[in-house]
């Protein structure tokens, strides 16, 4: 039931924020903050419980679940379930959710109640997507997160918001419909084979499908997910949506919505269609490597700060495609870390871009420059997250990229070598941010204040996570391990190497 509460609290909070926001915008802000905070506490509780059961043998397939009938005639259940992978992403959701409310505190001043309603409903939809274990329910939540996001971009966005919100909606909706077709296809194939018509994930999992049908059904799922991810050449909605969205919208888009695509690949595409996925490996590698380099090249060319960061997302998500389709433990564990790392570091860069825009009312990096002397704290933060984005060791992004590429190397040496050029490319565009925004001589004399207490709180939280997980990534790796093993089992790779030699773990410090 606790999983349902996670979603219900957010949905109720959203409605309450909408109603009370008409009286006083502060009500809406505080209600949102409190409801996400309650969710956070629940998530922390689950996290602690999860850590305790890791060492127990024979872990069940789901850690927590809630299952009740919804539309029994069609075999639709309200089935939410959570394992390590879901847990990590749900934790990321509430963390970025909290920050999103905080960054909107001063930025959003129109229709505040409705804004927070949308914000909370998006988060509810995302948590639903990460926990739904019934394919119909999954599709339902997929739509729940889409529509409020459309409003978020369309109402509170920047200059070109209407175009961007349409584009976002059409891309996601069109690809979502393909997924719906594929879900129905799977449903009927399974039903005709076994006589049981159900949308239940676990039951559909072992469905025998002939290879050519499997390929098309996989494509249906995959297209929905790679559009969301996004992979080249389906990325073109992203720069517009990210750039035009308000800061909170950009953070949620980059930090969470893109992750639903990655989650879908890991949760559905590979386990449902293991053979088709294996056949697709080389194509996925090519798309991944192309995304890494093409995204980086476009990021380098941009002059709009948010657009630059948006394209860097395309580049980073290329690693996810590479990692997911390497089918080994190194890469899959790395992919999960990459989802967290990208959520944090890109989120932070969007937040910084938002803070800058609030202060100087432009996103054009050509008129910035020399800001370091005026806002050294902000400069330091910009530097740190630019470094995170280029994968500096010691920060969590490095762990992700290293694990992904190490694993990918074992799958395809040549394409991994090409993808590794992304390390150089990300250096080029990330340093350009620092150079253009904070270094150089001032183009204009902006009279701007450095970070205030609320902003320091936001950036401080992000900094702690990015450094802490860079040095102690095992906290996340432990949580995702069993999910990764499940994925590997589903494609018939059971020889998961475990801690063979733990001898280094003994601490000799105090000797």
């Amino acid at each position: 039931m606790i999983l349902a509460w996670l979603i219900i609290i957010l949905m109720l909070g959203g409605i309450l924020a909408w109603i009370t926001g008409r009286i006083n915008p502060l009500f809406a802000r505080w209600i949102s903050l409190v409801s996400i905070f309650i969710d956070s506490i629940i998530v922390i509780k689950i996290w602690i419980d999860y850590k305790q059961q890791i060492n127990l043998t024979a872990s069940p397939s789901w850690f927590i679940e809630i299952n009740s009938k919804w539309v029994p005639q069609f075999g639709i259940n309200f089935h939410l379930a959570l394992d390590g992978l879901s847990l990590i992403l749900v934790a990321l959701t509430v963390f970025l959710g909290l920050l999103s409310v905080l960054i909107s505190w001063k930025e959003i001043n129109e229709r505040v109640g409705f804004f927070h309603f949308n914000l909370l409903w998006i988060l509810a939809g995302i948590i639903g997507v990460f926990t739904a274990s019934d394919l119909f329910l999954f599709y339902f939540f997929w739509e729940v997160m889409l529509i409020p996001m459309y409003f978020l971009i369309g109402i509170w966005g920047h200059e070109n918001r209407i175009y961007a919100s349409y584009k976002f909606f059409i891309f996601t909706q069109a690809s979502g419909l393909l997924m719906l077709l594929a879900i129905l296809g799977l449903y009927f194939i399974h039903g005709s084979q076994t006589g049981i018509y159900t949308f239940e994930y676990m039951q559909l999992l072992g469905t025998k499908i002939n290879p050519s049908t499997a390929f098309f059904l996989m494509l249906g799922f995959l297209i929905a997910f790679v559009v969301k991810l996004p992979a080249v050449p389906f990325h073109s909605w992203l720069p517009d949506a990210h750039t035009e969205a308000p800061t909170a919208g950009s953070v949620i888009l980059a930090g969470l919505l893109l992750k639903t695509g990655a989650y879908g690949i890991l949760r559905f595409v590979i386990p449902f269609f293991p053979d088709a996925s294996k056949d697709f490996q080389t194509v996925a590698f090519i798309l991944g490597a192309a995304g890494i380099l093409y995204g980086a090249m476009l990021a380098f060319a941009q002059t709009d700060l948010k657009r630059l960061v948006a394209y860097s997302s395309v580049s980073h998500m290329g690693f996810v495609l590479l990692g997911a389709f390497s089918f080994n433990q190194l890469s899959l564990q790395g992919t999960v870390i990459q989802l967290v790392a990208h959520g944090i570091s890109t989120g932070a860069l969007f937040i910084l871009a938002g803070m800058l825009q609030e202060r100087i009312h432009t996103r054009d990096i050509n008129v910035m420059g020399g800001l370091w002397s005026k806002v050294p704290f902000m400069g330091g933060m910009g530097l740190l997250f630019a470094l995170a984005s280029l994968g500096l060791p010691g920060l969590v992004n490095f762990i992700a990229e290293f694990l992904i590429l190490s694993g990918a190397y074992q799958a395809n040496i040549v394409l991994t070598g090409i993808a590794a050029l992304g390390l150089i490319a990300s250096t080029i565009y990330s340093l350009r941010i620092v150079q253009k925004v904070f270094y150089g001589s001032p183009v204009k004399e902006w009279p701007i204040p450095d970070l205030n207490a609320r902003e320091i709180l936001i950036m401080g939280a992000l900094t702690v996570v990015v450094v802490w997980l860079g040095l102690f990534p095992q906290h996340v790796l432990d949580i995702s391990k069993s999910s990764v093993k499940k994925i590997l089992n589903s494609i018939g790779k059971t020889e998961v190497l475990d801690n063979n030699h733990n001898k280094l773990e003994e601490i000799t410090l105090g000797k």
Partner: protein
Amino acid sequence: MLNLLWLVPVLPFFSFLILALFGKKFPIKASAVLGAGSIGLSALLTLIIGIGFISNPPENFRFVQTFWTWFNVAGLNPSISFYLDPLSIVFIFVITFVGFLIHLYSIEFMYEEEGFSRFFAYMNLFVGSMLTLVLADNLLLLYLGWEGVGLCSFLLIGFWYKDPANGAAAQKAFIVTRIGDTAMAIGLFLLVANLGTLNINEILTKAPAVWPQSSGMATAAALLLLGGALGKSAQLPLQTWLPDAMAGPSPVSALIHAATMVTAGVYLIARTNALFILAPQVQMLIAIIGAATLLVAGFSALAQHDIKRVLAYSTISQIGYMFLALGVGAFSAAIFHFMIHAFFKALLFLAAGAVILSLHHEHNIFKMGGIKNKMPLIYWTFLIGSASLASLPLITAGFYSKDMILWFAWSSPKGSAWLWAAGLFGAFITAIYTFRLIFITFFGTQKTEIGHTPGKLIKVPLVILAVLSLIGGFIELPGTLGNLPLFSGFVEKVLPSAPVHGENILQEGIFQAIAAITALLGFYIAYLLYLRRTPSEGKNLLQKFFYSGWGFDWLYERIFVRPIIFLAKINKNDFIDLIYTGIAAGIGLFHGLLIKTQTGKLRWYAMGIAAGAVITLTIIVFL
């Protein structure tokens, strides 16, 4: 005693953290005490640890201190742990001691600069990262230090960030070295895939067991690691970033771009020596690259106008010697030259910085001149450093270290007459450009008034380094002159011992005499060219070619930089988006056409229905 090891890198990291967070609010003195003091403490600890290590060596001369497992995935479990052996002791000695002297110097040098505490924060971060690099017990932690020092190099080259030229130099340094780093990263993936570990000792024992001599895998692994070393140590073809890196303050050039970071590549190869020994072709390549680099950079140094650029090219050239030594299997000679080079090159950069500071930030040597009597201490220390660089025989440390390399280039089974000749010719060039620098900078007529006169904090480090540049060589005397292999005896506890040492005294003596005469000859040529005649900047084609560093920048600009920028620029709006906007436009067009039929006129609709019916019937009938 050895258990204090962790403090050596942690102290600089700690003071970095304090300075980065609160430095803005500190008075200058507090930042100075914290920034330099932390390195001083590290140096002191290093001394204690070093003495403890030598007097009471641990088993196998190896000491490991483990803190936690970084991560553990699929059996790959690199840990955060430090590894102390004679090789890392030499490096942490140089890093902390030379580092401390440079920090002291910086207090005075940077005193009036904006961002004093930021400078010390970066410098401390650098020292901490560099110590991590050389103390890491696995290649992943080494890579962390490796990227960390690259970052600090970027930050400090661009320290005066308001000038976009400095920013460009900083970015160039980071990006060019990252090219090498990427090769190295792929090398790590290869090692993970084939050996299943990144622990250095495990690699060194596993590799010879798994890979046969000169097998493809061993060669690939060695080549990829070499890529990283070439970038960091500014060797051909990735050397172009170092001369531009001189945009940073002089202490930065002394610490990062002379004494420590740029020799990280030498450390990496020495540390993973077994991999290179498995791949003799790669080792030969290292020797050839070293020889080529030392000549290319030596000639470039001959034509520079900027005092720091002369020294930068000289650094590239001297590291070329170290690579030459590594290539012929004389690992201890490379490490010995690293240490001596750190002394005299740090000295030269610091002295050059003092000159620059005194002459109102003038860098052009042709606008200097005639200051030898005005600032005698700077002159004498600079002269001592130069003599060591030019390896004047017997009295300078540089003679002993360079001579050792030349001797092995000849006598080692992997050496050859060609490598020796290149090294010897390089030594000749070195002597010429070194004394050209001295004569033009300090002799002749004075052209710029002296402003600032250096104080104690600048003078003391210069004197100490000058002493070291002279006597540092006596810990390793060749067979002909006392035969005292203290240094090589120490590091060869963990490094493969150099081939033939101390045998064939007569031949070694002859070769030493040749080397000594060459250095003196170079000095004499410089005297003829630059003291007897009035030196000029030189405008002929060859000089311009050397001045540009053999046109590497020109070439890279055209084959890499411009095409990439061009491609990025023309595709700024993402041509893939055109496909989607094209589809949207097509639908819009169709929509526009259909709208035209919606006229509201009944007869048109009637005709449309009739025509449609006729066409449908026709199709049904005929098909």
